[in-house]
């Protein structure tokens, strides 16, 4: 490792903090170059991919106007689905994580192992099976259907992360709550959840990202334009005759904005270190 491990520099060294910032910006510039390229293409007038200049000299916003007029609704759908998935993941995963963390259960090990194994199943296998099940259940082309499917990545992940955090909540705190006469549900809601705030935010953030980026389920489980997440909306631009890359990239840029805002806001709470005991 080239970078020495020092949390906070000791005073007296000639290495000002802004130099670290400069290094950080440099790293960012390299890693985000593809993102820059995306923005660059989105502002080019031609929409062709060959020999794109390094800078968008002839600014054109036609990609953005197309994207806004045609993908606005899809962006909203994506947002609803992703937020719905976050809520669903937390509602399903946290109670389970709590029980798995705080109580000795004979089958807890088996459940955790099952959760881990679930991560190994390729998405297509799930999507294939869901299609038929959804046809029978009338869940095709529905927001709830997409929320359920998009949570396949979030729920196992949330169970692992939140459980790992909750194991560190002292038993005595929970017992004290119980002695005060609170029921299981109230103990859980008013004591355990507030203590796990950071773990919950982490789980929520990841669930959001998983659902936001989903393309497979969107493609599989929707057949009409009524319910169409923006990932699928993007795909419709890349078609038979015209591949309008400016619009594709403009949509991608617009689609990233809500997610980036959320990221920046949530970042300070991220307590991913709680995964320490997630897989043991």
């Amino acid at each position: 490792m080239a970078i020495p491990v020092t949390p906070g520099r000791r005073p007296g060294r000639a290495w000002p903090r802004w130099a670290d910032t400069a290094v950080g910006v440099g790293i960012l510039a390299v890693l985000l170059f593809p993102i820059y390229w995306m923005i660059n293409v989105s502002l080019q007038p031609g929409g062709s991919a060959v020999g794109t200049p390094w800078l968008p000299v002839h600014l054109s916003f036609h990609g953005y106007s197309t994207a806004l007029s045609q993908q606005g609704r899809n962006l909203l759908t994506s947002l609803v689905v992703a937020l719905g998935s976050v809520a669903f993941c937390l509602v399903i995963a946290t109670p389970a994580a709590y029980v798995l963390a705080q109580f000795r259960l004979r089958f807890a090990g088996a459940i955790l192992f099952g959760v881990l194994i679930s991560q190994m199943i390729p998405g297509i296998v799930i999507a294939n099976a869901l299609y038929t099940a959804y046809t029978d259940a009338g869940l095709l082309n529905s927001v709830p259907g997409l929320i359920l499917a998009d949570s396949t990545a979030g729920i196992p992940f949330a169970i692992l992360i939140v459980r790992a955090f909750m194991t560190s909540i002292p038993q005595s705190v929970i017992e004290a709550g119980r002695v005060d006469g609170a029921g299981h549900l109230r103990t859980f809601v008013s004591i355990v959840l507030p203590m796990s705030r950071n773990a919950l935010i982490t789980a929520a953030l990841f669930s959001f990202l998983f659902a936001w980026a989903d393309f497979l389920f969107a493609l599989t489980l929707t057949t009409t334009a009524d319910v169409r997440p923006v990932t699928l909306g993007l795909y419709t631009y890349i078609g038979t005759y015209v591949s309008d890359w400016s619009s594709v990239m403009a949509t991608a840029v617009l689609a990233s904005i809500p997610a980036i805002v959320l990221l920046v806001v949530a970042q300070r709470y991220v307590a991913a270190g709680t995964t320490a005991g997630a897989v043991k």
Binding site: S48, A49, V50, G51, G123, I124, A127, N128, A129, L130, Y131, T132, T135, F215, L216, L219, T220, L221, T223, T224, Y235, T236, I238, G239, T240, Y241, V242, S243
Partner: protein, 410 residues
Amino acid sequence: MFRSTRSRKAPAALASILAIPLTLTACGGSDSGSDSGGTATLRVLDYYSNEPGRTVWQKALEACASQAGATISREAVPGATLIQKVLQQASSKTLPDLLMLDNPDLQQIAQTGALTPLDTFGLKADGFAKGVVDASTYQGKLYGLQPVTNTIGLFYNTDILTKAGVTPPTTWEELKTAARKLTSGSQYGLAFSAPANYEGTWQFLPFMWSNGGDEKNIATPETAQALQLWVDLMKAGSVSKSALNWTQADVNDQFRAGKAAMMVNGPWQFPVLDADKALHYAVVKIPAPAAGRPIVAPLGGETWTVPQTGNKDKQAKAAKVVACLNSDESQVNLAKQNQTIPTRTALLASFSSANPNVKGFADQIPTARSRTGELGADWPKAATKIYTAFQSALTGQADPAKALEQAQNG
């Protein structure tokens, strides 16, 4: 158009990570459509999801439906997802009343039993180009009618060729010489598309077939010579190695940007190319192995079918729509608007004199072949062998003969 032109590779591949309902459902099942008599609404499924094709087909379908006393409810999905959608619908018994299929897919779908033979409705394919009929026929029965078709030809940038004093090549030798002469700096003489998928196979076919190669057995000297041509062009530096990863749309981008003086591509690129006023181009037939030998080009385009929905009344109406789409007038009309070619041979001469830009393509239609005419539902396996072989030879893993032999033996 046809399977491989629909989209760029990345999205196409991603998109086909699709859902197919992998369950067993019992056979039978019937559409309990209640409306018999009066105006029926026909469900239509096709893949013209983008403009301008979307509107062109919408208008044609509406006009034909109203003649048949019906209205339409149409769903147009992205190209690469059509087959998966059809299979989903087949298993959930929700097939549409009128289904458009890319012609090489027809036999595969007909084999499942999901389509109705068109002779049930008294439809025949008299006067259609033979290759087109072959593609729509499964086990001796006609399952679809294709109003318009397309194929690939050799596009060339007239400015670049004039400046270099090169005339459009008509034979393989001329092609090699011209491509070499036209290569300089960042400009390649020729561009084609040779990725590891059906799109690449489609581009290789005119070379393979014109030289007498055949998909039944690709380990033959004829196919090896055709592959040698591709290898020579790439080795000489006249074609970029990137061709291994280019879709036809990428090839078109290269040509448009002046990075390639000639390209192998189809008439569906006209609107994109014409949008660039500074670009001057023309189209000729794919060069032949030797002077005077005929070109055998592959036929593209979509065929219209009537699935087994169990609703006799709607099926009959759907068949009427198919017939209407294939009338002389409709063929010419669709061909004009879609930059394609009518499939009734009697229409070809007048059509290409009225639309000179498609002449290079139209001239190849009478001798053109369909991909599935010979192998039917086994075509995908052969197509896979073909692209496996040329990828292996073009990357220098094996010489053409060896590569073909390895691929043929799986």
